[in-house]
Symmetry: none
Subunit: 204 residues, 4 copies
Amino acid sequence: MAQQKRTRIQEKNRATILEAALEVFSNQGFRGATLDQIATAAGMSKPNMLYYFRSKEAMHIALLERLLDTWLDPLRTLDAAGDPVEEILGYVRRKLDMARAYPRESRLFANEIVQGAPRILTEIKGPLKALVDDKAALIAGWSAQGRIAALDAHHLIFSIWATTQHYADFDVQVRGILAPKGDAHFDDAAEFLAGFYRRALTVG
Amino acid sequence: MAQQKRTRIQEKNRATILEAALEVFSNQGFRGATLDQIATAAGMSKPNMLYYFRSKEAMHIALLERLLDTWLDPLRTLDAAGDPVEEILGYVRRKLDMARAYPRESRLFANEIVQGAPRILTEIKGPLKALVDDKAALIAGWSAQGRIAALDAHHLIFSIWATTQHYADFDVQVRGILAPKGDAHFDDAAEFLAGFYRRALTVG
Amino acid sequence: MAQQKRTRIQEKNRATILEAALEVFSNQGFRGATLDQIATAAGMSKPNMLYYFRSKEAMHIALLERLLDTWLDPLRTLDAAGDPVEEILGYVRRKLDMARAYPRESRLFANEIVQGAPRILTEIKGPLKALVDDKAALIAGWSAQGRIAALDAHHLIFSIWATTQHYADFDVQVRGILAPKGDAHFDDAAEFLAGFYRRALTVG
Amino acid sequence: MAQQKRTRIQEKNRATILEAALEVFSNQGFRGATLDQIATAAGMSKPNMLYYFRSKEAMHIALLERLLDTWLDPLRTLDAAGDPVEEILGYVRRKLDMARAYPRESRLFANEIVQGAPRILTEIKGPLKALVDDKAALIAGWSAQGRIAALDAHHLIFSIWATTQHYADFDVQVRGILAPKGDAHFDDAAEFLAGFYRRALTVG
DNA sequence: GATGAATGAGTCTTCATTCAT
DNA sequence: CATGAATGAAGACTCATTCAT
């Protein structure tokens, strides 16, 4: 992976393009997005954009690579030394915060997975699975020790992903139903999830 | 909107087309799908297909309309007269069964919502919201009566949608992480969700 | 090689396109030719043209396949039972006649070979080599029997190809040098080559 | 055309570029070649390359001009004072030697002529024709004097060009047919052509 | 009802060339 | 001299839709 040296202009332009691409890809999906839209959003000519990324797909891949790196950070910080319930609740909160702060990234990811993950299946089956298996083992240990309720650790993680990312991925639906409330629903969601997971995890 | 009478052959062909369109749209998204793919999947010529549906969008809309009708059935059956916890657990189960039986429908819906629901926002803000508000009121009542834990009914419903549809929408990710298990993960999920929601709902 | 059945219109349009493509490819080479030029020459819209041939390359390949089939006919008719010198002179004449009648085909072929034959190297190393080896063996036999001069049969065949196709491939040069003569130079060439090969072949 | 004085570094860079351009043009043709390929081959940036040659076409023209100058040298040395047959055989050999030593130049020329010689038609009709006419007159004189066989001198020259350049221009075809022989075929060709032309020229 | 044929409007990508430093 | 950055113009190919039968 010999990374070429890049000038400051290059770094800036690449960042501008990725920002624009994220905006468009996350809303339209890969096929729905056009280079014209991205170029306009980036304030750049199409050929110049392709000077920085050789193809539409190259942009998409760059986005996904950058994403996976940071997307899993909340899970990585799950600490074996902490209190089990608080650790998991903390993970839920961090994950929800990310959904709130980076909804476009979440939708980019969702778009990709829903359509079969053609570009990141390898990453999923490799590093992602490894990390999940690792943390699931930790949670399963807590469960076996009776420090949290008896449950399937993998499916617990899935549930956390599902319930938190839902607020980013299905945003329009959530807003449509909760209207005319504003962004406050994220705080309500945080409160709901906190109580919800606390009860579900705590040993009766 | 004068609904034309349709012959049996017409009904059959429309059904064949919608089946093919569902297959393609759910995998590729609206923009990613091509009429060629759908026509091939339907074993029909493109112009003939367009004789039954005037445009690509008409197919999509037909699919979404049909979908919303049935997609909410599990929620409708939530019974005010039943036992609150069992009613909600039953809803979770029925929703998961639907995700298992109709993953393409779920993904079609997910694709549409993730991309801003351009074609069904009206439905969401109208009939869907009405039904959800209605059932949320029922659940909120149970909660206020202390028959289930204190929680936000709307967000409870969101969580049920999220955790169950996740197994359809994020199927490849779930399989990638749980590999090499087969379809058994749906049973595991059912068990997990049952215990999970029971604990989360039951009043301490 | 399941050949699809084609309607009369298809056959006609395919022929029209190939005729136009031959004209353009033989003059500009593969890379130099544009679909616009070919479409214009064929009196057809570009997309409609691509309805008949999926790509620019498909046209080129179709031309080359058709070409190789007929291009070697003159060599095939070399008859073991005939008089050696007359047989070879007959071959020279037929080859020159082809260069005169089908200069575009000759140039198409020349363009391809000069640029490394990326699309027909397989054909050259296979069927073409087989035929040449076969006929070279026949000629070598005549040579060994003293019925024609002692010479290398393969190189004799090369010389015949070179001297005859030269009048098609290097046409502009030939005309530029012989100007202001008209097409008469083909007759002069025929006479020259006849005498030339007769002397070169006849056993002193 | 005021010829600018050039520094040593300029001369060297121009030479490097032309060498790279020759490599690329001779393999891909003018349209098929890209400045990127040439710049890469020359180990130089594209704009810097264009500093030395204002355009792609300028490189091509420079190559062709340089080429024509040397390409005809073998013909120029045809000596009226020598023995006719030996003079012509010597010319054949020198021409074949050039095809062997400079195949890229030969293919560059072939590419240009096959495609109608748009850039050097003038040269062909001018200096080239003049030289050929001159030498053809010499050969015609020998022929008229009975010192070589009766033949058309212009077409004799064409035949020599054709048979010798064939080994450069149609190299892949020759190798494909003679495989798996190596470069030895050039020696075989030399021997064949020597015997061939000697018999064809010698007066019975 | 059904289909072969046709096309206008894109859509990604390439490329020779110019600009700015 | 040298190069990173930028682009207008073109080019191959796609696709939803329409036409004609």
